[in-house]
Amino acid sequence: MTEHTAYRVVHETRYTYSDTVTSAHQLGHLRPRATPWQKIKSHKLIIAPKPVEQVIGNDYFGNEVLRFMIDTPHDELTVRAESVVDVESHAPDAAAGSPEWEQGRLAPGVWGPAVDLDIEEFRVPSPMAPVSDEALEYGRASFTSGRPWLEAMLDLTTRIQKDFVYDPKATTVTTKVSEVFALRRGVCQDFAHLMISCLRSLGLPARYVSGYILNRPKQGAARVVGADASHAWVAGHCPEHGWIAFDPTNGKLADIEFITLGWGREFSDVTPLRGVVLGAATQTLAVEVKVQPL
């Protein structure tokens, strides 16, 4: 029987505004995505103040998207998502065999008579995960000629973890991959974009995955409530095994400890919460994520 774990995830976002906001349009990617290895047991949203309209739909990538609008004046907006999910182990063995990475590669002007758009969509560059000489060069060190795909991917994943320092103060949500290369620092979002850039520069498709990771307490230490945050990692497409996820922040395959919210080409496609408010001068943002194994 496949190993599996159930989690309760609470994700709370709070905006505090310096002046009264008269209306707000928001768009959220907050409901975990159902996949063959991930089942959604329950999902609840609590929004304050109460939206005048609230609609759920699907985005271009098949993720569930929440749209809501608030037209009562407010100084603070809170969006709390509570989900219970069950995740099965699904990653391949790190030592499993895989075809040469070149088999998954395609040059931009080459396309077959039968195109799988679900793959091609992620091969083209996007604004925050572009292709560049720098990314190509960095990626090539792992993707040597004829190397098995899985081996090369793991190598790139662990190299990023080793070469780059996790530093929440170094970057912002709009930091470019080229800056991350120069800084050698960043957070999960930066490392995911950087890895995707490397893969796309090599002609390989790569997805940005948004979600949560279980924050295991160190031996003897108590679990710190609120120490978790939303996380991001990368999925690559193996010609044989399909989409497989890697976490460059932690240098490993993404498996049972990862709860997937959704995926897109980059952060901006699956931002947990984004929107436009009318009337505020400045805003402060506080995010709290709790991931509890059940």
Partner: protein
């Protein structure tokens, strides 16, 4: 005569010549035009040219260029000689354009729907998926009537063999149709007889089709169908055209901030509340239309518009995401797409174009690079066009390297030798020269298929040796005359469309709040300019007459110039004459006349679609006056001030006599009254403290009341009658009572529709004015009178603040994007 004019007309040198088929042998469809020209005298031609130039200047036709260091306006450059196209030739073009439009509409439907063209490899997937213009959130949207592409334009060029080719397709928000209309209005009046006799097809029906089709396709419900024209604002390079089209089509001209999304629908913010919008003709680029789902940094957009588009609750022309087809990389794939989607061969060919992303094309392009131009495959990721023939060895090596690294970013296109057409040479209008031209033609979707404008915008290269024609690069334009095969359907003009009694609109509903604010400030600045000009005139005249009996008057006048801010502090303006003259003509004085005229111009600029052209012409006349912004002699300065007073009076006349008395007019009126009342109170305030009984003439001339005074009293000005005339006389439009009553009446009218608007703020002062007893109170040192006048001035400004709070803030909310984690 004609031979003289054409003496220096150049040989085509391998180009196609629109005018001649051989040396001095005109093509048949040009012969009538030429013989008419040759019959005219040089002075006759010059007269027509001057008249045409005046028409352009008067109607304020401009093209704004972002990069123009000279500021916002460049006059429209129109050559009065039209480009004439023969009927049979046009029929082919027309059919080809309509076919292309249908094809593009089908392609858009697929790309934002099934995507079978990508899945089957008819278009390289990476070509579309990697395009910044491909809007993923737009996939699956329900476009009303199944139409993505409502307005389409193609840029055509004629090759040396006489064939027309498409150089580029405009599928997002094509510009130029309005300029074509303006050109037609000017040129058809320049050659009225020829225009009629040659049987030139009219373009008006095209615009009517656009207006009616949008209405037909738009979703229904919530009363009368409302279509708006969405503009990025007055600083857009083609804003003039937006304003012109809005006026011509009868659509409110709105900016993103004027619209809001509620309940999945789009609404226009008006002073009367929210009005449902059914259709949006947009001149705003795709990516800037919705900060929630598209570019988060766009302050121009409408939050939630993308969602409305997906629901199909509003028609957007063109549909969001249609810009993706503007990539030249698609051109090479069109013949196959036409066969596949329409089952027909592509009728109007595109210029030979290769997407370098295809390996074979890349090699080919490099081999023939000298005959090619290289352009970005993604118009949103622009770089300058590279001309192969200009490349030296180093340039070529760089291109090779770039192409090898990212071939998919490049399009290689054959360099066309553009045809040449006759133009009248500026300055020496008897001479006809030749310039390279391109032609932009337009099509609009209708329930009966695509309708092509019979004509278009002919674009003219800026000089004889320029290879590309571009408005942004300073090119000019021409009217395009399409001769008709049969009789011209002239029964039709847009203005005489069938309006039934139920369509009658008495007062324009739904004036955007932003427009109301601009009208209010138009009123205020207009009056402020008038006050400033009069004050400076009185001050300078006083300086001239210093020796006469009113010597005391200079003190209060100068005190007023300082209190009003026209002159700054005393030290800085040591030489009063220089300071007064500077404030009259130089822009460096922050509250001087030119600075106020600029402010007036800015507001008028924002109102160009609302006000008659006469307003614009009048203000333009002052701004373009030779004295404006320059040092001038005393007599030139005084004449200039006179011109200002007259022109500003003319503006008031337009407002009084020419504007519909709708709510917008009320705001303009209140703005003027508030400014005038505040100024009059300030003048009185200063006079009370600085004037002697003997020197009150200045106060009367400032208030334009000297003549009245003289006719009534035949005596030197004295306090009692002067104050009676300026404060209590309800028949004097400059009096305090007159303006106070006027504001109260205007506010009362507003309050009928909108509830409390601040008239209560005036109540105390109105009562105080009524209590004034002339015999007892009309004295400069009467404390109660002084207090009442000062309080009124404050109240005037309070009312302004109140209206701002109540009506304008809706239009002025700031937008903040919240990008969270």
């Amino acid at each position: 005569m004609l031979e003289e004019m054409l003496a220096t007309y150049p040989e085509p040198q391998g180009r196609f010549d629109e005018l001649f088929e051989a040396r001095m042998q005109p093509r048949p469809h040009w012969s009538r035009f030429l013989s008419e020209l040759s019959a005219a005298s040089p002075s006759g031609i010059r007269e027509r040219l001057l008249a045409a130039e005046r028409r352009i200047r008067d109607s304020g036709v401009t093209y704004n260029v972002y990069a123009d260091p000279m500021g916002h306006d460049r006059p429209w450059d129109l050559d009065v000689l039209p480009l004439i196209i023969a009927p049979d030739e046009w029929q082919q073009l027309e059919a080809g354009i309509a076919q292309r439009a249908s094809l593009f509409n089908r392609v858009l439907g697929d790309l934002y729907g099934e995507q079978s063209l990508l899945k089957e490899g008819l278009i390289p997937p990476s070509l579309i998926l990697g395009q910044s213009g491909f809007l993923r959130p737009a996939r699956g949207m329900r476009v009303p009537g199944g139409i993505h592409l409502h307005v389409y334009a193609a840029d055509l060029a004629r090759s040396p063999d006489g064939r027309w080719w498409v150089m580029a397709d405009r599928t997002q928000a094509p510009s130029g149709a309005g300029y074509a209309l303006e050109n037609r209005l000017v040129v058809s009046r320049t050659f009225p007889a020829l225009y009629r006799d040659l049987g030139i097809q009219h373009v008006a029906r095209f615009f009517a089709t656009l207006r009616d089709s949008l209405m037909q396709f738009a979703p229904r419900g919530d009363g009368q169908t409302l279509t708006v024209l969405l503009t990025p604002g007055p600083y857009n390079e083609t804003y003039f055209e937006h304003a012109l089209l809005a006026r011509y089509l009868g659509f409110p001209l709105v900016e993103g901030g004027d619209l809001t999304v509620r309940e999945g629908r789009v609404w226009l913010k008006t002073i009367g509340g929210l009005k449902r919008v059914h259709a949006i003709l947009r001149r705003q680029d795709d990516n800037y239309c919705d900060p929630v789902e598209l570019r988060a940094d766009s302050a121009l957009g409408v939050a939630g518009l993308m969602d409305c588009a997906r629901r199909g609750s509003v028609l957007i022309a063109n549909a969001l995401g249609s810009g993706v087809l503007e990539s030249g990389a698609l051109l090479g794939f069109l013949p196959r797409l036409s066969e596949h989607l329409l089952g027909q061969p592509l009728q109007l060919p595109s210029i030979a174009t290769w997407w370098c992303g295809e390996a074979a094309a890349q090699a080919d392009a490099l081999e023939h690079y000298q005959k090619l131009v290289f352009k970005p495959a993604d118009p949103g990721q622009g770089f300058e066009t590279i001309f192969g023939q200009d490349l030296d060895e180093r340039g070529l090596a760089t291109l090779r390297k770039k192409l090898a690294a990212h071939p998919e970013r490049f399009v290689a296109q054959e360099l066309v030798r553009l045809s040449q057409a006759p133009v009248l040479v500026k300055g020496q209008s008897e001479k006809i020269a030749a310039r390279n031209i391109g032609l932009r033609v337009f099509a609009v979707a209708s329930p009966n298929g695509y309708v092509v404008m019979p004509g278009g915008l002919t674009r003219v290269a800026s000089s004889a040796d320029v290879r590309v024609v571009s408005m942004q690069r300073g090119g000019g334009s021409k009217d395009t005359w399409v001769m008709s095969a049969g009789p011209v359907d002239s029964s039709f003009t847009l203005l005489r469309n069938t309006v039934t009694a139920t369509d009658l609109v008495r007062v324009r509903a739904g004036i955007p709040s932003r427009v109301i604010e601009n009208l209010f400030w138009f009123g205020r600045y207009q009056e402020r300019c008038d006050d400033t000009a009069r004050l400076l005139r009185v001050a300078l005249n006083q300086k001239l007459q210093e020796t006469e009996d009113e010597e005391n008057a200079l003190t209060p006048i100068l005190a007023l110039t300082r209190a009003f801010g026209v002159l700054e502090d005393e030290e800085k303006d040591a030489d009063i004459d220089v300071a007064l003259m500077g404030a009259s003509t130089l822009e460096t004085h922050p509250l001087g006349l030119p600075a106020n005229l600029r402010a007036l111009e800015r507001v008028a600029f924002n109102l160009r679609d609302r006000m008659s052209l006469d307003n614009w012409r009048t203000i333009n006349g002052l701004i373009k006056d030779p004295v404006f912004g320059r040092k001038a002699t005393l007599s030139d300065t005084l004449n200039w001030l006179d011109r200002n007073v007259t022109s500003l009076m003319t503006l008031s006349g337009f407002a009084l006599d020419g504007m519909t008395r709708d709510d917008g007019w009320l705001f303009l009126s209140i703005g003027r009254r508030i400014e005038r009342l505040a100024f009059q109170c300030l003048a009185l305030h200063v006079a009370f403290r600085n004037s002697s009984d003997s020197g009150l003439g200045w106060l009367l001339s400032l208030a334009d009341s000297a003549v009245t005074y003289r006719s009534r009293y035949m005596a030197r000005p004295e306090w009692l009658p002067v104050l009676d005339l300026l404060i209590l006389d309800g028949a004097n439009p400059r009096s305090v009572v007159f303006q106070t009553g006027g504001i109260a009446a205007d506010l009362a009218k507003l309050e009928l529709n909108y509830g409390a608007c601040g008239s209560d703020l005036l109540a105390a002062e109105v009562a105080a004015l009524k209590k004034i007893n002339p015999a007892r109170d009309l004295q400069p040192d009467n404390a109660q009178l002084r207090n009442t006048i000062d309080a009124l001035r404050h109240t005037a400004f309070s009312i302004s603040d109140h209206l701002t709070q109540r009506f304008f803030n809706l239009a002025r909310t700031s937008i903040w994007a919240t990008l969270g984690m």
